[in-house]
């Protein structure tokens, strides 16, 4: 590659990066449509720390012989299991021994988040003494029968007889079996003949709908019902509405400080480091704005901050290794080549172990741990890509522009005699 082409490439990369940064912050109305592009940063889903959510208090109605302690703790555990699949952070509090307060980063509290008593009925109206309930169910799971998404429900010995009796009633009457969760109807199934096998398949329109039905029936098997006290109310952001702007300002000031240190220490090479960091940060923001499986909370911000610190530190680590190679007598180009080759193993070790730890915590963690790990994982994976590919590519291009003027990259051979030489 010639010097001119390398310079041109740098200019093109800088322009593209500037445009991407603009798209990160600036929103605008898309011409000829009614849609508005909010900017990548503004489209990141926010958690309870930075955005309003909803809260409600529920009374717990116990439909079996369990005590209030067991009922409340089982219900809270079940709700946390359901919520952790959808939200990174949420609050489930026990109120006055028999009530539960739910606070989630959403605009509504859907029934699928609640624990509602399951009952099977032959009429559209709830009966006070249902024949078949959640406690008669032995197993419920999602199944794919051919191309049909189904919910497989198997009843226990007692439940089997009850279900046979119920389906006989349905067949001779309305011919529709209704399933209720609390007071709302979950689904209605048409029946032509009575089911005596002790198990049944309920079809759903999609896999998501079937899995949602499975979760609601599993919740219903506990034997408790949550009845709302009052209304669902909006709750303000716990850190205040301006906290998100403060967080953006914090990251921008951090990037400015890193840029200044890079330029002062490594001069022209510092510009390459800045370009690398900006590509990393902007690229990751653009990538994660596509996904909706996370919410930005204070813990996630800490994850982003820590991933940024590790990535920047590894950048400096690699450059200082190249500097050591230069001090050992190699020319600039050879120093960069052997320096990066020697750093590769350390970089891979660090990224591998961090990715493993954060993946496990992202999948199985709860609350603040999950928030932190999800963001950290996304940023550390893009950090690995940035350091191993982007940074090396930019350095290679830079060496076409300058591979002899050592002072312009802040390298020197001073202090070579006093330091331990690193050999491989």
């Amino acid at each position: 590659m010639k010097k001119k082409i390398a310079k041109r490439n740098f200019i093109v990369i800088s322009i593209v990066l500037a445009i991407c940064m603009l798209f990160c912050f600036v929103g605008f109305k898309i011409p000829t449509t009614n849609n508005r592009f909010k900017g990548f940063i503004n489209s990141l889903p926010l958690g309870l720390d930075f955005d309003s959510g909803v809260t409600a208090i529920y009374n717990l109605e116990i439909k079996n012989d369990d005590g209030i302690e067991k009922a409340t703790s089982s219900t809270i555990s079940r709700i946390e299991t359901i919520l952790s699949k959808q939200f990174n952070e949420y609050k489930v509090e026990r109120i006055n021994n028999d009530q539960i307060r739910l606070t989630i980063p959403s605009q509504t509290i859907q029934n699928k988040f609640l624990v509602n008593y399951i009952q099977f009925d032959s009429s559209e109206e709830l009966s006070d003494e249902p024949l078949v309930t959640g406690k008669d169910i032995k197993l419920v799971k999602y199944q794919l029968n051919g191309s049909t998404h189904c919910v497989y429900i198997e009843f226990n010995a007692e439940g089997k007889d009850k279900f046979t009796s119920l389906t006989t009633t349905v067949v001779s009457g309305s011919k529709t079996l209704y399933v209720f969760a609390g007071e709302s109807q979950l689904t209605g199934v048409s029946l032509e003949e009575a089911i005596t096998t002790g198990y049944a398949y309920f079809t759903a329109n999609s896999k998501a709908a079937a899995e949602e039905l499975v979760q609601q029936i599993k919740s219903g098997m506990l034997g408790y019902n949550m009845n709302i006290v009052g209304n669902v109310e909006q709750v303000e952001a716990s850190l205040g509405e301006n906290a998100k702007y403060f967080a953006i300002a914090l990251f921008i000031s951090l990037l400015i400080v890193i840029s200044l240190i890079s330029i002062i220490r490594y001069r022209q090479l510092g510009y390459i480091i800045i370009l690398t960091i900006l590509c990393y940060f902007v690229g990751t923001i653009m990538l994660i704005s596509v996904f909706e499986f996370y919410q930005l909370t204070l813990s996630s911000l800490m994850g982003i901050l820590f991933a940024l610190i590790i990535t920047v530190w590894l950048l400096y680590f690699n450059v200082s290794k190249c500097h050591s190679e230069y001090k050992s007598g190699k020319k600039l180009q050879a120093a960069f080549k052997s320096g990066y080759r020697k750093c590769l193993q350390v970089n891979l070790d660090i990224f591998a172990v961090l990715a493993i730890i954060s993946t496990i915590f992202s999948i199985w963690g709860m609350g603040a741990i999950k928030s932190f790990s999800v963001m950290f994982l996304m940023f550390i994976l893009t950090g690995a890509f940035t350091i191993l590919l982007t940074n090396r590519g930019l350095i290679k291009m830079y060496l076409f522009i300058n591979n002899t003027k050592v002072k312009q990259v802040g390298f020197s051979r001073e202090g070579n005699k006093n330091e331990t030489q690193e050999n491989a």
């Binding site: 809260t55 703790s73 809270i76 555990s77 946390e80 609050k91 489930v92 509090e93 026990r94 109120i95 006055n96 021994n97 307060r101 209304n231 109310e233 909006q234 709750v235 850190l239 906290a243 403060f246 914090l250 204070l298 813990s299 800490m302 994850g303 901050l305 820590f306 610190i309 590790i310 920047v312 530190w313 400096y316 680590f317 200082s320 193993q345 350390v346 070790d349 660090i350 591998a352 172990v353 961090l354 493993i356 730890i357 954060s358 496990i360 915590f361 199985w364 963690g365 709860m366 609350g367 603040a368 741990i369 928030s371 932190f372 790990s373 330091e419 331990t420 690193e422 050999n423 491989a424």
Partner: protein
């Protein structure tokens, strides 16, 4: 000509590394370093028995009541009302509280949660607080009775414990494959001691245990692994060199620490600088965040201690080069490669002479 004195961070870190290796004398003093976590654990145990844990606001049992405002307020007016309610609560010696705005427009409310240290007479105090708040605005409607709310963290703690053990197992396997058994055992000790020392320090300093404590443990573990792998990589590389055959474990370790500790210090300095900056800001803006930042600084220091002293100490004391079959195999392979290259070069020279 006078030379300008400039702060050269890398030279400073190099000097610190050399001094540290002279001071710590890992092999002789390892038994004292290993006792430190045990002592911390014992002291923390005594503190826990005497004083219990110091739970933060989120984890404590809280009293709460709601104030229905029955009026639409602008954002600035909310701040004013919140300020007045705060003054009332502080008059009744309630300092650990939180005010949250619920609802919208005319349906808005203020949820007042507080941790009370009174052991009796709460209802009488509550009646007085109600009267004082009612006197601010007659349209306010306040809850009849005080409610009690608790956050359940049992599932959270169990979940964190199980996953931590899974991580320890995976890190052990990875370290064994990547380096050697002693390194793997040292990594396991580092991860366990991180948690023990962190919890002990928090209990001894009576810092409130926040809900975010989980990710601070992860942070500490990740940092320990980074530092441990930095040292392990350098040690493995040094062992492959011919001249290391005449050096004992302590000499190799000294060279490793002098070589790699400046990089570790740089990372610690990064984290510490950012944390101190955030700490100063949170003193003025988000006071609830102050303890989290302090915990991050403590976690960083603990991780540096365990990975530099404990991990390297275990390796220094227990590693036996003669029993390291994997190293012998790697050195043989390297020698074979070098011999093959030398043979090729010799052939090339001979062909050159012939032509």
């Amino acid at each position: 000509m006078k030379r300008k004195k400039t702060l050269n961070i890398s030279k400073l870190n190099n000097n610190i590394s050399t001094k540290i290796t002279n001071i710590i004398k890992l092999k002789q003093n390892f038994k004292y370093y290993a006792i430190i976590p045990i002592c911390l654990m014992l002291i923390a145990g005594i503190f826990t028995l005497c004083f219990g844990f110091n739970n933060s606001f989120e984890l404590s049992e809280k009293n709460y009541f709601e104030i229905e405002l029955n009026t639409t307020y602008a954002n600035d007016d909310f701040s004013e009302i919140k300020g007045e309610i705060s003054n009332i609560l502080e008059d009744y010696e309630i300092t650990n509280y939180r005010l949250t705005i619920l609802g919208e427009n005319i349906n808005n409310k203020i949820l007042v949660e507080f941790v009370s240290e009174r052991t009796s007479g709460e209802n009488i105090v509550y009646e007085s607080i109600k009267n004082d708040i009612k006197s601010l605005n007659s349209s306010f409607e306040i809850s009849e009775d005080l409610g009690l709310s608790k956050t359940n963290i049992t599932d959270y703690v169990v979940n964190l414990t199980i996953i931590s053990f899974i991580i320890i197992a995976i890190v052990f396997i990875y370290s064994w494959i990547r380096f050697e058994l002693i390194n793997a055992i040292a990594s396991v000790f580092v991860l366990l001691l991180n948690k023990i020392i962190l919890i002990s320090v928090i209990v001894i300093l009576r810092l409130p245990i926040v809900l975010n404590f989980g990710y601070i443990i992860i942070l500490s573990d990740m940092l320990s692994m980074i530092i441990t792998y930095l040292f392990n990589d350098k040690i493995r590389t040094s062992l492959m060199i011919d001249s290391s055959k005449n050096k004992n474990n302590e000499m190799l370790l000294t060279e490793t620490i002098i070589s790699r500790f400046p990089k570790v210090l740089l990372l610690v300095e990064f984290i510490a600088s950012v944390s101190i900056f955030l700490f100063v800001i949170s003193l003025f803006a988000f006071t609830s965040f102050v303890y989290s930042i302090l915990l991050i600084i403590i976690a960083t220091l603990v991780a540096t201690y365990t990975s530099t002293i404990i991990s390297n100490g275990i390796w220094c004391l227990f590693y036996n080069r003669k029993k390291d079959k994997r190293l012998k195999y790697k050195i043989k392979r390297l020698e074979k490669k070098e011999k093959a290259i030398q043979d090729k070069l010799q052939k090339f020279e001979e062909e050159k002479i012939v032509t």
